[in-house]
């Protein structure tokens, strides 16, 4: 468990890194008597705007009455939500015993884990370290649908996942991404800063989003067709010779092949598929390609489409062709931070045998982010970045979640019988929730490590209370994505029977007989080890600075080439070719709307008030978004006889969910937007199954059979699958009346 913190009745103020969402703002936290009382903006002039109302709500979250404080052991049937309280020691002893039994009977690959680094933060790669020491390759994470997969696919093209240089750029291209004042706040501020420095902003979004309202150009794309627009841009850029000829000649392979593929996308075809007028495609392509410098920041939209791999690769190719890689105002290939041992090293991927790596679920059909594809980059990564494994944003050596849930449900290709979920409400976090439910019901052992009871935790055998960011020390490096180190200091006490995720894996490893791989007894010892290249301990670092940025290194590839087999930017991917896929990006049409299912449904949408499936029990946040809402265009509302404020059920071929209707002019007609991650903590006391986990959760809606997935990664098509709406009489029974009164 986390060491006791003894502030002796004092007010303590510390620098903290907020982990309520994935963006990691540095804030100031205050505590009194070991209890956090206030979280406020940082006072540093560059940081003070980087805060949203979720961050300042941290004391409401961290001190919430429903926070888990004691380990729980299931006493009823699985999912019945009946528990006995036990000690942490007893829980860990029993978990170790039962995990050993599963491994003895089925082999180590029968153990799978789903974690969210965003939420837990201080695992220090030790979930993977534990699994690699045990012999299981079956680690999954929400980053397979969000940023992590983008990192892995970027590596196929140029060996790293670049970070946009917002501070110096002259053009920002947002593919559906909509950073707002209270969502992805630092990116919102960075875009505003770029605008103030004269940058143009191009927004590609079916909706008139907040970013679209102020954009220089807004392209109202048909959802899910990003790849085709990129082909259109390339068409203009190549035809008009707007590309960086020197860079293409010296640093890329496959330009001629790419040119031929691009020629399959004349602008008439691009216009027809994307719904964007031809002249706007040309104008925007020119604006992007002729800007002095330009960035296409990561977007959660391109991550989640049937053509995700091709679309992500096309972004990479655009960056390269326009000469925007590793230059000022472009996108920086930062590499490992020389002052901090990366998680990639701590994970000990070299411990896992080739035989076990070959068993990684999903790697046969969808290898792009699994060991099978990523290990083909080992030598190149070592040459370019100094170490064979580069697990950027945790996304580069994952099993495929859909394949893992299939194995958990059916035993095919082999049984998976033990499942751990840490800071990750698994049931609502991946596609095809009903399958995930069946998969979880078929387990011998489920362990959840959480700060609140969740629908997934209700299905567990053991639920362990976790810690939060004000209760632990940390140095954040954005999982090797940024080259900045950011200090986070403990100002408050975690629950006495709680643990950090590091402590959890450490205690389990020692009980399982491989404690030698976990020599650091505390989080602070891990931090000392990770900071050792800087010559500082954690304590010294925390006295010297609250942040440290690496000096940018431009055109770093000139030293040892790009981290690809050819050492160049692979427009034509040698890795995809060797794996038997199309080495060039392509377009595959997703299922289209029909008379029966007239909408293009897009899911996985973030609301300002919440991060993923969290915070629905935090009143000050929930009041801002009391219920989930479907956004539809007035024409569609009229056709379906729906009005603003009605309740409706959305049906797809996979499932159905309910929400309130919000009729919005800003929507593109034919499109239907569904918010992500809804369940109802207030229904825990009701008869509702798993706290309303199946009522409004978008994870119910999207299919995930292999044919429904992006071929290379196995990503579902969250952005535009067919659905239909039907009016219902009112809201689901059991919603907190206080929330309904607000409507």
């Amino acid at each position: 468990m986390t060491a006791a913190f003894n502030p002796e009745g004092k007010v303590v103020i510390g620098d903290v890194v907020c982990t309520i969402c994935d963006i990691g703002c540095q804030l100031k936290a205050e505590s009194v008597d070991g209890v956090v009382t206030k979280v406020r903006p940082h006072d540093h002039p560059m940081l003070r705007k980087n805060v949203c109302y979720k961050g300042t709500a941290a004391p409401h979250i961290h001190n919430h009455a429903d926070r888990l404080r004691v380990p729980l052991k299931r006493v009823g049937e699985r999912g019945e939500d009946r528990w006995e309280e036990i000690s942490y020691e007893q829980a860990m002893d029993e978990i170790a015993e039962r995990l050993k039994a599963v491994v003895d009977q089925y082999g180590p690959e029968a153990f799978a884990a789903s974690t969210s680094g965003w939420n837990t933060q201080t695992t220090h790669g030790c979930d993977r370290r534990f699994m690699n020491a045990l012999g299981s390759p079956n680690w999954i994470s929400g980053v397979s649908l969000c940023a992590g997969n983008t990192a892995a696919v970027n590596k196929l093209t140029y060996g790293w996942f670049p970070m946009p240089d917002f501070g110096n750029t002259k053009c920002v291209v947002l593919f559906g991404h909509n950073p707002r004042k209270h969502s992805w706040t630092p990116i919102y501020n960075a875009i505003n800063g770029a605008r103030a420095n004269g940058a143009k902003v191009i927004v590609i979004d079916p909706r008139v989003s907040d970013q679209a309202e102020t954009a220089d150009l807004h392209l109202r794309i048909t959802s899910g067709t990003d790849a085709v627009l990129c082909f259109g841009w390339l068409n203009v850029i190549i035809t008009e010779e707007l590309y960086d000829k020197d860079f293409v000649e010296n640093w890329t392979v496959g330009f001629e092949e790419l040119k031929e593929r691009v020629s399959e996308f004349p602008l008439e075809r691009v216009e027809e598929i994307t719904g964007i007028p031809r002249d706007l495609i040309v104008e925007s392509a020119r604006m992007y390609a002729t800007a002095k410098s330009a960035v296409i920041p990561w977007t959660p939209i391109t991550d989640m489409q049937l053509n995700s791999t091709s679309a992500i690769r096309l972004h990479s190719i655009l960056r390269a062709l326009t000469g925007n890689l590793d230059v000022i105002g472009g996108e920086m290939l930062g590499g490992f931070n020389p002052d901090y041992i990366p998680e990639s090293k701590l994970q000990l991927h070299e411990l896992l045998s080739d035989e076990q790596k070959a068993k990684q679920l999903g790697s046969d059909l969808h290898p792009a982010y699994t060991y099978r594809a990523q290990e083909m980059l080992k030598e190149a990564t070592k040459r370019a970045h100094g170490y064979e494994y580069a697990d950027i944003v945790m996304g580069c050596y994952m099993a495929n979640p859909s394949a893992v849930f299939r194995a958990m449900e059916s035993g095919d290709p082999y049984p998976v019988k033990a499942f751990f979920t840490l800071g990750n409400n698994t049931l609502l976090s991946y596609p095809n929730q009903h399958r995930i439910h069946r998969a979880l019901m078929n387990q011998d052992l489920i362990v959840a490590h959480e700060i609140f009871m969740t629908p997934t935790a209700m299905l567990a055998d053991y639920v362990l209370p976790g810690d939060v960011f004000t209760e632990r020390n940390h140095v954040a490096d954005s999982w090797s994505w940024s080259t900045r180190l950011t200090l986070s200091q403990k100002v408050a006490n975690p629950p006495a029977e709680g643990s950090s995720t590091y402590q959890f894996w450490y205690d389990l490893a020692h009980r399982m007989g491989f404690g030698e791989y976990f020599p650091w007894n505390t989080l602070e010892e891990v931090l000392d080890h990770r900071l050792s290249p800087s010559g500082m301990s954690f304590e010294e670092f925390s006295k010297v600075a609250h942040m440290h940025a690496q000096e940018p290194e431009y055109r770093s590839y000139e030293k040892a080439g790009f981290g690809t087999p050819s050492g160049k930017v692979e427009l034509y991917s040698s890795v995809l070719e060797e794996l038997g896929f199309d080495p060039l990006p392509y377009y595959r049409e997703a299922p289209q709307p029909s008379a029966e299912y007239p909408y293009r449904v897009f899911t996985g949408v973030r609301e300002d008030s919440f991060f993923q499936t969290g915070q629905r029990q935090i009143k000050v946040l929930r009041k801002r978004t009391p219920v989930p809402r479907f956004f539809i265009h007035p024409e569609d509302a009229e056709r379906d006889g729906l009005s603003d404020g009605d309740w409706a059920v959305l049906e797809t071929q996979t499932g159905q969910v309910q929400a309130m209707v919000s009729v919005q002019e800003s929507m593109k007609s034919g499109h239907l937007r569904v918010p992500h991650g809804w369940w109802y903590p207030e229904m825990r006391e009701e008869e509702s199954e798993l706290s309303g986990a199946f009522i409004s959760s978008d994870a119910v809606l999207c299919p995930d059979e292999p044919e429904d997935l992006d071929y290379e990664q196995g990503i579902p098509h969250f952005k535009g699958f067919p659905g239909r709406l039907r009016r219902i009489d009112g809201p689901p029974v059991g919603i907190d009346p206080e929330m309904l009164d607000l409507l």
Binding site: R40, P41, D43, H44, P45, M46, R48, K49, V51, C52, Y53, T56, A57, H60, G167, N168, K181, H182, D244, D246, G323, V327, I328, G329, S542, K543, V544, A545, H546, M547, H548, A549, Q550, E551, P552, Y554, V620, K623, R624, T625, P626, R629, S662, L742, L743
Partner: protein, 66 residues
């Protein structure tokens, strides 16, 4: 890229590195004279005033869907 453009880019890159060094000074928890100078320079450049956003305060009235 023309020679002039290349020259301008190199200059911008040198400036950007210098700005990073300056920013690092401003992150110091125990600032010396040079660190304080860096902070004063930054304050002039950034001109960001303390955040005054009523939405950050959870005690006031909250309107749904705003």
């Amino acid at each position: 890229m023309s020679k002039e453009e290349l020259k301008a880019r190199k200059k911008a890159e040198r400036r950007s590195k210098m700005m990073t060094r300056m920013a690092n000074r401003t992150f110091s928890k125990d600032p010396n004279f040079l660190d304080r100078m860096a902070m004063r320079t930054l304050q002039k450049r950034v001109r960001s005033t303390p955040v005054d956003d009523p939405e950050l305060d959870h005690d006031g009235p909250i309107k749904p869907f705003e």
